[in-house]
């Protein structure tokens, strides 16, 4: 009975507090959000190459990507999802390249379940690259950070052993969770795995945090839901840029692989693999 009472209490409290609570995103113009995405993206990626994906592009002019984890959603772009947009951005910027993203996302799936499913999906799809959005369900289910890290590490190693590159899409920035110890431990676990295994991570958290900072500096503090909205809009851009950098680009800075550093440029000015000066896979 206590559960029922709690659930109904929760609903009742929501009704009472609803008027005072934050509204759904007020909706900054998409061009403004995209500009902020572009600026925020500068803090998002590290100097890691996607060797197997780059090889697939070089030899087959084709890249097969498997997307696992919660499917990103872009509410402002209703005709195409994030992954369709990522495909389009890459194909537009790199002529003659065929990118196919196969979405096998299960929203709410925890790392342990995703890890088990990735192996099956890799066997079925035979991808060159995996996008793995991970952490949110584990943060809400209070998965211990050690267990989470072990699961991620084992799966990344398995993927590397099978010649599949992986890009981790980490936790989203939530101002209300910026001091939540469990949330931050999982965030650190993702960063540790990225460093230890020299893989690429889309710094979704840092990027949205940067947007939050920009908005504050402009005197327009964004609500949590505004930031969620911005995060959804930006993720496709972040992914496209991360992929472009991992495949073709080079970071200005040095540093360890996977470290969060500013990047040299975006998809448009990245150099193709065989161009002198570009990162060799």
């Amino acid at each position: 009975m206590r559960c029922v009472a709690t659930v109904f209490g929760l609903l009742g409290w929501a009704l009472i507090s609803g008027a005072a609570a934050e509204s759904l995103p007020s909706g900054a113009p998409q061009s403004v959000i995209q500009k902020q995405c572009a600026e925020a993206a500068e803090v998002g990626f590290g100097p890691v190459t996607l060797a197997h994906a780059a090889k697939a592009l070089r030899e087959r002019k084709r890249l097969k990507v498997l997307a696992i984890g919660a499917t990103p959603l872009n509410e402002r772009d209703q005709k195409q999802g994030h992954y369709a947009r990522v495909e389009k951005v890459l194909e537009t910027n790199f002529k003659g390249v065929d990118v196919e993203i196969i979405d096998r996302g299960v929203s709410g799936e925890m790392a342990r379940d995703g890890a088990a499913r990735i192996k099956t999906e890799v066997a079925l799809v035979e991808p060159d690259l995996v996008f793995w959005q991970v952490g949110v369900a584990d943060a809400l289910a209070l998965t211990p950070a050690n267990e989470f890290k072990q699961t991620l590490s084992r799966t990344v190693v398995w993927l590397q052993e099978h010649n599949v590159d992986v890009v981790l899409i980490g936790l989203k920035y939530q101002r209300s969770l910026s001091s939540n110890e469990g949330f931050q431990k999982l965030r650190r676990a993702i960063r540790d795995v990225v460093r230890e295994h020299a893989i690429l991570r889309v710094g979704h958290y840092e990027s949205i945090e940067a947007i939050d900072r920009m908005r504050r500096q402009e005197g327009e503090a964004a609500s949590e839901l505004d930031l969620t909205d911005a995060g959804s809009v930006c993720l496709a851009d972040f992914l496209s840029r991360a992929l472009a950098v991992g495949l073709f680009g080079r970071s200005k800075g040095g540093g360890a692989p996977g470290e969060i550093l500013p990047i040299a440029g975006t998809a448009k000015d990245a150099k193709p693999i065989d161009t002198p000066g570009a990162t060799k896979p």
């Binding site: 559960c3 029922v4 609803g18 809400l140």
Partner: protein
């Protein structure tokens, strides 16, 4: 009139409790449900027993119910399940929205595939009504709706060509595996977590095994040595599950779905393990009744009222996840959640029967 206590209701009650516990991930008691020692889990058991129960609705071939009455009853049941699915999905969405407001955490709006409902409501609401958009952990009832929608066809084939039913079902299953045919989701791209084209085989197996003739009759006559063969399968695959000793799925021959392990397509190895498991477990029921009759009575009541218990259980498990997050989990919180939740499920079953008795 209330049914007498029986194995089917007992195991269905057990499946409902196990689903409730498993749907609060990371809770302390999750590690004690049979999915941690087994390839298959309570979903297979639930669907198999739904098929078994369908046999009692359809009736015996020597005493057939009028076809129109049968169709009316089966389709009516499917509509009831459909409405129940819509209702619990709507309440779940309200719970997630409430949690996001009260706990000031917008992550809840994106949890369990709810993001489309909040950020793409125009298309997502159409998807919810079409069952092409399903919330995480609220995806077994849509499968059940589809299975019951196809139940009239099962009943007709059973009536006119009973021996053809299982081969037809098996053929659909194999074709789906060989060609990787599945049901797409919309507006969020993906596929149904429970592929109805594959899971229908478990439903039909439950229906067929309940018969005294055909495959069901053969199994009942040979259950002794079937159990002897099944026990090593259960033990062997149980050990492999515990120690994660699985073969590399990338190294199996094509068509890969015939050889890999997957829940969505309920692949053959999982299906074989499940059938072996129920062959072994069916031997345990008489002993369980003797040792813990109160527990059997309690779970059987839940099994007799599976729809309301399942619906309330789904919502309680979501509420449990939210409460766990709010109170930061731990053994005490988990014990309160699981204990209270099971008590509430028992109360729901009791109320459902009390209402019928009163009427």
């Amino acid at each position: 009139m209330q049914r007498e206590i029986n194995a089917v209701d007992f195991w269905r009650g057990y499946a409902l409790v196990a689903i409730f516990i498993n749907h609060i991930p990371q809770n302390f008691y999750e590690q004690f449900t049979h999915k941690h020692f087994s390839l298959s889990d309570s979903a297979e058991l639930f669907v198999f027993l739904a098929g078994w129960s369908l046999r009692h609705v359809v009736g015996r071939p020597e005493d057939p119910k009028p076809t129109s009455a049968l169709m009316h009853r089966l389709l009516g049941r499917a509509v009831t399940l459909y409405v129940a699915q819509l209702a619990i999905a709507l309440i779940a969405v309200a719970m997630l929205a409430s949690a996001s407001l009260v706990l000031a955490n917008p992550l809840f709006l994106e949890w369990h595939n709810a993001a489309a409902i909040f950020y793409d409501p125009v298309r997502a609401h159409i998807g919810v009504v079409l069952l092409s958009h399903q919330l995480g952990y609220f995806d077994i009832l849509p499968l059940y709706v589809v299975l019951l929608m196809s139940a009239p066809l099962v009943a007709i084939i059973h009536r006119h060509a009973p021996n053809a039913l299982l081969p037809i079902s098996f053929a659909i299953y194999v074709i789906s595996l060989v060609f990787g045919i599945t049901m797409p989701t919309w507006p969020v791209s993906g596929q149904w977590f429970f592929n109805p084209l594959c899971w229908q085989l478990i439903f039909v197996l439950g229906f067929s095994m309940s018969r005294d003739r055909g495959p069901g009759g053969w199994v009942k006559r040979n259950i002794g040595w079937i159990r002897i063969c099944a026990a090593p399968i259960v033990i062997g695959l149980g050990i492999m599950s515990i120690f994660n000793l699985w073969w590399d799925p990338t190294r199996v021959p094509d068509p890969k779905l015939l050889f890999i392990i997957g829940k969505t397509f309920v692949t053959p190895i999982r299906l074989i393990q499940f059938l072996a498991l129920i062959a072994v477990l069916s031997a345990a029921y008489p002993y369980i009744v003797r040792v813990v009759p109160g527990l059997v009575s309690f779970l059987s009541r839940m099994g007799r009222n599976s729809l309301p218990v399942f619906c309330v259980g789904s919502l309680l498990s979501l509420g449990g996840q939210i409460i766990r997050f709010a109170y930061e989990g731990g053994l005490v919180v988990d014990t309160i959640l699981i204990g209270t939740g099971i008590a509430v499920l028992g109360l729901v079953a009791w109320l459902a029967e009390w209402r019928v008795r009163r009427d």
